[in-house]
Symmetry: C2
Subunit: 692 residues, 2 copies
């Protein structure tokens, strides 16, 4: 009955494999490393996709003051670009200084302390939820801009997309597949094409004109302070273009060698593309005179403002440049929507990575520290999706409000990360033989970045607190306390199970019980193994819940001439656990503190749904038995035929695995408590028999 | 380190205990048996609560033909009462003939065949979903009738209530608590009071008048066939008063002795009360001239028919009898809403019972056959709640449409159950010495019931198919195929693990491995137990994923002078499973087919959330190890301090447990395949050492 490991079946190469990727051999260890051309789509979809909404929000806030304020737009956009450049430069340094993938969290923990690190972690977790929310809301916005009849179903569409994303990630899909790369490159090229064509037309004298160019806006009378505040708010909204830049700092281990250089180059390339698209799109929006207001009814001349939606800035520019409802128009809308969905997907892939970093430090369940446990991971996906759905429902998928919430989380981690880097450079100055030039350069960049991001954070918090920002300031402390709680719990448990000089064991006696139900092969195997282990005493125990079944068992026992004595315990209530527990306890009272090993079969199955049909009663019995002193449960596996599926099964991708890569250098040592000095006495009091 | 079982702490008797019940000792076996006064609320809430909507639906359908048709109402109501009496009488017989609690499913399976039984089971499962849906929708209807401002939130309210019910049942609450009994008795008494007062006022000449008495209805011109169809539809809608009568037949084992008589008495009492309330309410509705139309806009004279809701029949009668917005009015509305929620709750308690019956026959996961596995049960609660929410959302909590769907499921099981009883009596005729009188009496009752319920089923199906009944005819086959699939699966597995003469085992060699991570107490315990078991050879294995950790372990090993040899296996990828598996396999290649027992600590914890923080990595390693030939896993429990909570912990009620009771007579034998005759040779080839 030998089951040798069959060779991995070779599947013919098909279109499916070209798109989704080769099946991973089931013994594959850490994820494959990423070449730059696949790394770019994975890490760039978030920052690039924010180009879809950042210019829109920037212009929209300016227009609150009236059409004249649009003249400030170039300056505000320039400020955003400057900040983008600063942030990219900052992360370029962070990658070099901390290439192990800890990102902002690691920088803050190491330089500002445990609590600051946790604040960053909380902010990042909130950030992930908001990434899903904003990206899906914007994607739906673009879809509705292409098909306005869908407008009444805005929220429902958004919820459906979140559900689809969750389902896909529960199944597991590899980010490095071409299915992810194509939309990103399509988006980049089509938007770039649009910008080029638009500018070309302008130069040739046939400047495109947006459909909303004709609408005016009620200008507000603003005090000087209000004007400055408006400019700052517009700047803050434009800064949503920065979201997602930090993702690469978490994924450095995933790059091919030389990791640091490749990561830096990808970061710079990504930043460059984002800047180009952002600047180009904003310019084109100003040229085509897109007038996008906070609410459609603010536009003078907009009919049906209650029901008809404003088209997104991207849609308006595309319609103006390429013509309304042309092929290229729909391509742009589709690419935009797709890349936004991909950006939402990055949240599902990013948080396991964050989770593993937190787990290594003891702030998250330990099972996340390696490949990630599918159970905990699935719970995480569901939580993330649920939070996103609730927020979308509560805020009715209103992009403007949601972006404000988004910015807060992102800029908290930006600010703390930059500040941490400043402290890092200050410490570097104290090292022997510091490279003063490089240090001061780095210090300046990071300090500038820290100040600018702190200003943005302050502005958004003040202006949007009552509009929903309080939600973020509620979620973050909750997560903070949760992580702190997990850490303190693990510390308490470690202290509890720490070995001390008084630890004494000394079981005597060795009794084995084989739990027998029907006479079936798994039971025979368990008997076989129990016999092979040569316990001091061995018996088979059958709890009788069905007279007919017991009679049959006794007959079979005799017929098969099994030499192990069979003990039948009666149970009137179809309950196996309690009579068994009573029996074990009474034995212990007789025989003293012996070790009782209870052999039970465990079915190994191939399909997930078979898990609902096997092993549950056994597990219930087992959980109760383990509360009894001196009991050990020995699981004897029985592989059902379907378990052959597990061999050579294509390993389901665990999300985030493409970003894990391999460690860049030896993993940081786990902090342990010093072990109390032993008294030197032997705690082992019986040598094992090592003959064979 | 002995942990003796502490005595159950005695809690002072408080109001909480008076309402919710005494804490069940953790060693309590099957649920306590029910006295009649507690059984009535549990089983009666469903049929009694349907009094809240049945008269309303009956009158509403009649009014489609115009106000004149209300003169048919007494006759239609009489027909419903006759059917009620017939059905009660039928179930009274069923209880006597099949007291083991299988109900309609058992009757159909035994008399009409496996497939008919499954059809009944599918219908009952759909019935449970619809019980939740209709009860919640009606409860919300009554709440809105008391507080009309809530009308725009009808669907949301319904969904919230379903979520609350699901949460309560996930936590587990005992049905036999007084918290359940009070609303039912309150409902019965207050509605009875209302009927008495209403009739008294009528006799005294001050007949109450409903608020809708003044509205007329557009009379339709109907052909004679249409008139008959209308009457039949009205009858069918009125038959929704029958739903829930069958629940007692599933709960006979839960009654105190003499079970059959007590169950019959409770059934008759319940039927009597239901008939009285139904007849009384219908009479009062006709006296007060309640005009309830299918839609508010059908009522001539009803202002604001788009937004203002019609008040339920119950509310209108109460308002007319007691006065609008009086204390008694609100009491009736509250009691009605509460008893409807209790009725919805019965679905959550009924399906585990059905599940256990199905599991015993192999149509549902085996773990349901005893107390019910919390995992599978929780999945069931969630599925039930989800299905209910989806249906409520899709049909916008429209009571009329939903009731049609409800009736179909209920009447499928009624019809098949009655038909099964007819076959039962026909078979009884063929028995030696049949009691012809009793048999013919029973046959007549059940045959009449079968015909009447079949007619209702036909009418509803034909008239409502396009209005949503197709949904029921979709859900039932799906469930049917699922159950059939489970049954065939278990049969295949049984055949797979059947012992045959060629079954040979014969492991040789007995090697034990203790998996060691850090030097902590659980590991020491595992070592201790492994040593106590006296395996032929024993070694400790450490997979090195952290150099520092490995160094520390080696130092501790030496310092503590542990006599078991420590083998260190390196692993560059923080992966424990694969190096271990490679090692075990290479040993087997060297030493032949030996049994390798791998000892691993398993944490036992007190809180549910601790389960997310422990044991996951170990379980992943374990699952992979069990695929390797010759491996047995020995789990060595380590009880963390928090596990003390499990001792003496109040046993969380598993829903449905109050209805399980104890078996009435020996359980029906599990059908087994005949075992192939053995060749008589010994398959055990090594006697165990039984010395001590």
């Amino acid at each position: 009955m030998t089951k040798d490991l069959p060779s991995i079946p070779a599947e013919p190469r098909s279109a499916k494999h070209w798109i989704i990727g080769d099946p991973l051999p089931s013994e594959k260890l850490e994820g494959q490393l990423l070449p730059k051309h696949l790394a770019l789509p994975i890490f760039a979809s978030d920052p690039l996709s924010s180009v879809a909404y950042a210019p829109q929000e920037l212009l929209m806030i300016l227009m609150i003051g009236g059409l004249a304020f649009l003249s400030f737009a170039p300056w505000v956009a320039l400020a955003v670009v400057v900040l983008l450049v600063t942030v990219v430069a900052s992360y370029r340094q962070l990658i070099k200084a901390y290439p192990s993938g800890g990102g902002d969290y690691e920088v803050a923990s190491r330089n500002l302390g445990e609590k600051s690190g946790l604040v960053v972690a909380s902010a990042l977790l909130v950030d992930y939820v908001m990434t899903v929310v904003v990206s899906v809301a914007s994607g739906v916005d673009n879809i509705i801009s292409a098909i306005p009849e869908l407008n009444p179903f805005r929220v429902e569409l958004a919820v459906v997309f979140v559900i689809i994303l969750a389902a896909v990630n529960l199944r597991g899909v590899s980010e490095s597949s071409k299915a992810f790369a194509i939309p990103t490159y399509l988006f980049i090229s089509s938007v770039a094409l649009m910008i080029v064509v638009g500018l070309a037309r302008t130069l040739l004298g046939d400047a495109p004109v947006a459909e909303s160019a004709g609408y005016a806006v009620q200008a507000e009378q603003l005090t000087q302070a209000a004007v400055i505040l408006l400019l700052l708010r517009s700047f803050a909204s434009g800064c949503s273009a920065l979201t997602g830049v930090e993702a690469i700092s978490n994924g450095v281990p995933a790059f091919r060698a030389p990791k640091i250089k490749n990561a830096q180059r990808t970061l710079v390339l990504m930043g460059g593309i984002a800047i180009a698209l952002f600047a180009g799109l904003t310019t084109l929006a100003l040229i085509t005179q897109v007038h996008y207001a906070e609410s459609a009814c603010n536009l003078i001349g907009f009919v049906d403002c209650e029901t008809k939606p404003q088209r997104s800035l991207m849609a308006q520019v595309a319609a103006a440049t390429f013509g309304n409802n042309t092929i290229l128009f729909f391509i742009i809308q589709a690419a935009t929507a797709l890349v936004l969905l991909l950006a939402a997907n990055t949240a599902f892939n990013g948080f396991p990575l964050l989770g593993s970093v937190l787990a290594k430090d003891g702030y998250a369940p330990k099972s996340l520290s390696t490949r990630g446990d599918r159970l905990i991971y699935s719970n995480g996906v569901l939580l993330l999706a649920l939070a996103a759905i609730v927020i979308l429902a509560v805020f009715q998928a209103n992009l403007t409000v949601l972006i404000q919430l988004y910015i807060i989380g992102v800029f908290v981690s930006f600010t703390l990360g930059q500040t941490g880097m400043v402290v890092h450079w200050l410490r570097a100055l104290k090292q022997p033989k510091p490279d003063r030039g490089a240090i001061w350069r780095g210090l300046t960049i990071n300090a500038l970045g820290a100040v600018m991001t702190a200003v943005v954070l302050l502005v958004v918090t003040i202006t949007k607190f009552t509009h929903g920002a309080w939600l973020v300031f509620l979620m973050m402390p909750v997560l903070f306390l949760l992580m702190l709680g997990v850490n303190r719990y693990y510390r308490d448990v470690a202290r509890e199970i720490e070995v001390d000089p008084t630890t004494m064991f000394g079981s005597q006696g060795d009794h084995a019980i084989v739990l027998v139900g029907n006479m079936q092969k798994p039971v025979l195997k368990a008997l076989d193994y129990a016999i092979a282990a040569r316990h001091e005493s061995l018996e088979a125990v059958h709890v009788s819940i069905d007279d007919e079944q017991t009679r049959q068992l006794k007959k079979d026992w005799v017929r098969m001439n099994i030499q192990v004595p069979l003990r039948v315990i009666s149970s009137p209530y179809r309950d196996i656990s309690h009579p068994l527990i009573q029996y074990v306890k009474s034995r212990r009272e007789e025989h003293g503190s012996e070790v009782t090993t209870i052999y039970m079969p465990q079915y190994i199955v191939g399909h997930w749904w078979e898990g609902l049909l096997h092993n549950h009663k056994a597990r219930r019995v087992r959980q109760k038995l383990m509360l009894v002193h001196g009991v050990t449960i020995a699981l004897v596996p029985w592989l059902l035929d379907s378990s052959e599926l597990i061999y050579g099964r294509r390993s389901r991708p665990v999300p985030g695995q493409d970003r894990r890569g391999e460690p860049v250098r030896p993993v940081r040592p786990v902090q342990r408590k010093p072990i109390a000095p032993a008294s030197g006495t032997t705690t082992r009091n019986r040598p094992p028999r090592n003959k064979r």
